[in-house]
């Protein structure tokens, strides 16, 4: 890599710098069979600073992080390079990767601490949480007396914002929420006043609001304890929020390193530029997933539509709403059935009824009210973004619409006709009208059947055409999602995540639906793939006049895809209206905190 020479530019090797606590130089790691995973990585961690290590899945960022602790996962081994550590009050460096087992063990947990990705998996389920913190103190011989250690356990618990009392310490991990578990993890890490902290995606899987609290705790603890942090993540927004410097990894190489604002605002490396352009921003200033990254075969015409028409279309739609909108949305959320929708004019071709409408959809399992009086409308060519955190009921709602969950009460109407609750009881035409794309492309395609076979199923089941025409239609759909016909005979196992999701979208397109329900379809994908999928959806909307219900937890996507935004909280829609209106003047407290908590980009 040409940029390698510039990676450690805030300090020259050999020149002592008392701020630096840990330096990794030319670190190479390979698999047991000899494949190099890291190709010589350089970075340095300074006291009181957090270095963000960014990369997409498979970039080797976790491997690099764990190597700082002299730990290599099963199947990996150290090849060459050095990891030097300057412990507090020690002038000479320790060479972490050259230490014997006993010496490296005495560093782990005391001088270098680790905060894992998934606290639910990393806390020992058969040990009480207090005991797990206490274990570190015992092993590393904290303090002089038992009493001192007992005191430290409660002190560090209080530090991370948890109750430090005996009763809380006696809890089992499964009795805590995800955010609390992660704070136990943070408490464990800080128990010994470490010099270096390795944080491996500690907020992935937490809700935005929990994430905000945990990030806060980390930030504050790092500064208070004057610790050097390495924050590993795939999320550039979090990096901007928490770190002082950032290093970008690509396939085992560190391609760019520097102060956060410099790197994020003026990226030098191609890859960083592409990553930056792919990250959705709440403000919607840029267009993600257009042009280069989105289109497999650059088609000037299509790109043109995206770049120029995209925002225009949105603006005009927005204006339209702005005039008729206010009253209209208020009425809609009150759950009234009215005919004023035709005023919007866009659905003039179809009857007076909206294309898709849900009225008073509710669902409860026992005491748990999952959905409560949901009213949504969707017009042809419209995209509504349904925003909700985990447990908000957003997937349940989208499955009710698709007829995959028939336990609900209330009605789902397509062009004014009430649909049967179960997809099996709906008519062929109705089934074809609403198509559903699943969250995980790794699960939605049968691994034993070829893409072609899987994509033929919708046609086969609606009994359309002959084998020949079906094949032609499937190939057309594959073209439409920019995969190409050569994918017809391939199996899901040969495809990347993004390619699979395109195939899954193609399956939903084969029989020309009018509504597409997309359930978190980008959440399992890397950010650059997400951008290309979003770009694809925009193109498809334009090409096929598709109405779309786009379900996500990521509020930052809203301006990039949706005309309308519905915010779902605990089964209720708390805010609903044109995207810009909801984002700029949220009516509900929940929406306001949500917008405040999202890392700004």
């Amino acid at each position: 890599m040409t940029t390698e020479t510039t990676t450690v530019h805030h300090d020259d090797v050999g020149v002592p710098n008392e701020k630096i606590v840990l330096r990794v130089s030319d670190l190479k790691i390979e698999t047991n069979s000899g494949n190099e995973i890291l190709h010589g990585v350089n970075f340095a961690l300074s006291r009181g600073e957090i270095l963000g290590l960014v990369g997409e899945s498979g970039s080797g960022k976790t491997t690099a992080g764990l190597a700082c602790m002299g730990h290599f996962r099963e199947g990996l081994k150290f090849a060459s390079g050095s990891v030097s550590l300057w412990p507090r009050g020690d002038d000479t460096a320790v060479e972490v990767v050259e230490l014997d087992e006993v010496a490296v063990r005495s560093l782990r947990g005391s001088r270098i601490a680790y905060i894992p990705q998934d606290p639910a998996l990393s806390l020992n389920p058969a040990m009480r949480v207090g005991e797990q913190i206490r274990e570190i103190l015992d092993i590393h011989g904290f303090g002089d007396s038992d009493a001192e250690r007992v005191e430290r356990v409660s002190a560090v618990l209080v530090d991370v914002g948890l109750p430090g009392d005996k009763a809380y310490q006696k809890r089992w991990p499964h009795q805590l929420s995800g955010g609390q578990q992660q704070r136990i993890g943070i408490a464990m890490a800080f128990a010994m006043y470490p010099d270096v902290l390795i944080l491996d995606e500690p907020t992935t899987g937490l809700d935005v609001s929990t994430q905000a609290v945990v990030l806060d705790t980390i930030r504050q603890m790092t500064v208070a304890n004057n610790v050097a942090g390495l924050y590993i993540t795939h999320d550039l927004a979090v990096i901007k929020d928490i770190s002082d410097r950032v290093a970008v990894m690509l396939r085992g190489d560190l391609v760019e390193e520097g102060p956060v604002t410099a790197v994020l605002e003026d990226p030098q490396h191609e890859y960083t530029k592409m990553l930056m352009s792919a990250v959705p921003d709440l403000a919607g200033r840029k267009t993600i997933g257009e042009g280069a990254a989105a289109e497999p075969e650059p088609e000037p015409k299509a790109t043109h539509i995206l770049v120029s028409d995209g925002p225009d279309e949105k603006d005009s739609a927005g204006d339209e709403r702005a005039s008729a909108g206010e009253l209209d949305w208020a009425v809609a959320s009150a759950g009234d059935e009215r005919a004023s929708v035709e005023e919007r004019g866009r659905a003039a071709a179809s009857a007076t009824a909206p294309l898709l409408e849900t009225t008073d959809v509710a669902l409860a399992y026992g005491k748990a009210q999952i959905l409560d009086g949901i009213n949504l409308t969707l017009e042809p060519g419209d995209c509504t973004l349904l925003l909700g955190e985990s447990g908000s009921g957003k997937t349940t709602l989208s499955r009710c619409v698709a007829g995959l969950n028939d336990d609900y009460s209330g009605a789902v109407r397509l062009r004014g006709t009430e649909l049967a609750k179960s997809t099996r009881k709906r008519t062929n035409e109705q089934r074809v009208g609403i198509q559903y794309v699943f969250q995980s492309p790794f699960s939605s395609l049968n691994p034993r059947r070829s893409i072609g076979q899987s994509l033929t199923v919708p046609l086969e089941m609606s009994g359309e055409g002959t084998a020949g025409t079906r094949k032609a239609q499937v190939e057309e759909a594959l073209d439409a999602v920019r995969l190409g016909r050569s994918f017809y005979h391939r199996r899901p196992g040969d495809l990347s995540g993004g390619e699979r999701q395109r195939a899954a979208i193609a399956r939903a397109l084969v029989n020309q639906p009018s509504v597409l329900v997309c359930d978190e379809i980008t959440s399992a994908l890397d950010v650059s793939v997400q951008a290309s999928i979003i770009g694809l959806l925009r193109t498809l909307r334009a090409e096929h006049q598709l109405a779309m219900l786009f379900v996500t937890h990521n509020i930052a996507l809203s301006r990039h895809i949706a005309d309308n935004l519905a915010v779902l909280n605990k089964g209720k829609i708390v805010d609903y209206g044109p995207t810009s209106e909801v984002l700029e003047s949220p009516k509900h407290e929940y929406t306001r905190t949500l917008i405040a908590d999202v890392p700004k980009f």
Binding site: E56, A293, P296, T423, R482, F487, S496, G498
Partner: protein, 305 residues
């Protein structure tokens, strides 16, 4: 992992070349039997199994040539004019009884395994697919049958119905079924939460088609492992029953029975016991190694590596 690498290739090319060009059609799929044979266990297992199968199936064709003198010398020493491996206590040639004695054992074992597999797979898949009360009742009934060891169950059946071939096959097959059903059920439960099953439901695919086309191909791995294991056990049980004198009845030539008949003379004329013992040992080891290599081959497919 492979997906991640592909993914990154894709990313990098899209970043650098400005286009995400789909790769040409290529497949990384290796057929099941090739993955089985790629294992040491698979090779050894298959070889052992084939050797014993050849012996059992083709052996009887050789009978006219190998039969030595009979009823002239009791418990004759091996390597004598009285047959290569001597004769037994009734003066029958050991070698000829040995090569004639494997066929029934193998046929019965395969039939019992097939019966158990079919019953078990159907019950297990249905229990998981239908779920609810049906599942609960089926699994409780399963637990009842599991409470009695298979051999004891077989003995109970033989007491009542007598030691006939169909009784052995049926009772071993039926007692395999709940064990196989458990495996089929848990494999199905692992697959049934996958979205492609839900997708098939969404397109209103007939339920039997969902089971046959979407589910079954995705649980063949665990089922094939189970088939290998159950075949091993079937051979063991049926041979054991013969050995106990409760399987094939004299004067039939059968390995288990032969061991029972000749073990009194073990110290004088060991071959009447050792030949069938070795054959049974090799056969069961062979099928068990095969089952193990099936398991490894299945684990290596789990498509999302």
């Amino acid at each position: 992992m492979s997906t991640n690498t592909n993914n990154l290739d894709e990313l990098k090319s899209s970043a650098v070349d400005g286009g995400e060009v789909p790769k040409e059609s290529q497949t990384t799929y290796t057929p099941f039997f090739k993955r089985v044979l790629a294992q040491k266990q698979g090779k050894i297992g298959l070889t052992l199994t084939i050797i014993i199968l050849l012996l059992a199936f083709c052996g009887p064709l050789l009978l006219p040539w190998v039969t030595g003198s009979t009823a002239t010398e009791f418990v004759a020493k091996p390597f004598s004019p009285h047959g290569l491996f001597g004769s037994d206590n009734l003066g029958r040639d050991v070698l000829s009884r040995f090569i004639a004695g494997g066929l029934t054992l193998i046929v019965y074992s395969v039939l019992a395994t097939a019966l158990g597999m079919i019953l078990g797979a159907i019950v297990g898949m249905l229990a998981a697919y239908v779920g609810g009360a049906f599942d609960a009742i089926i699994m409780r009934l399963n637990d009842v049958i599991l409470a009695i060891p298979q051999l004891v169950f077989a003995l109970l059946a033989i007491t009542v119905l007598g030691p006939q071939g169909w009784v052995l096959v049926t009772v071993i097959g039926i007692t395999h079924a709940p064990r196989i059903a458990r495996v089929a059920r848990s494999a199905t439960l692992g697959v049934i939460t996958e979205d492609y099953i839900l997708a098939a439901e969404m397109y209103a695919m007939p339920r039997w088609k969902v089971l046959l086309r979407e589910l079954l191909p995705n649980i063949t791995g665990p089922l094939s492992v189970e088939a290998g294991l159950r075949l091993t056990y079937s051979i063991g049980y049926i041979a054991s029953l013969s050995f106990l004198g409760l399987g094939l009845q004299p004067p039939a030539a059968d390995w288990g029975l032969m061991i029972n008949e000749n073990r009194i003379a073990l110290s004088i004329q060991p071959w009447g016991v050792l030949l069938p013992v070795i054959a049974i040992a090799l056969l069961t080891i062979g099928t068990n190694l095969l089952a193990d290599s099936f398991a490894r081959a299945t684990a290596s497919t789990s498509v999302e590596a």
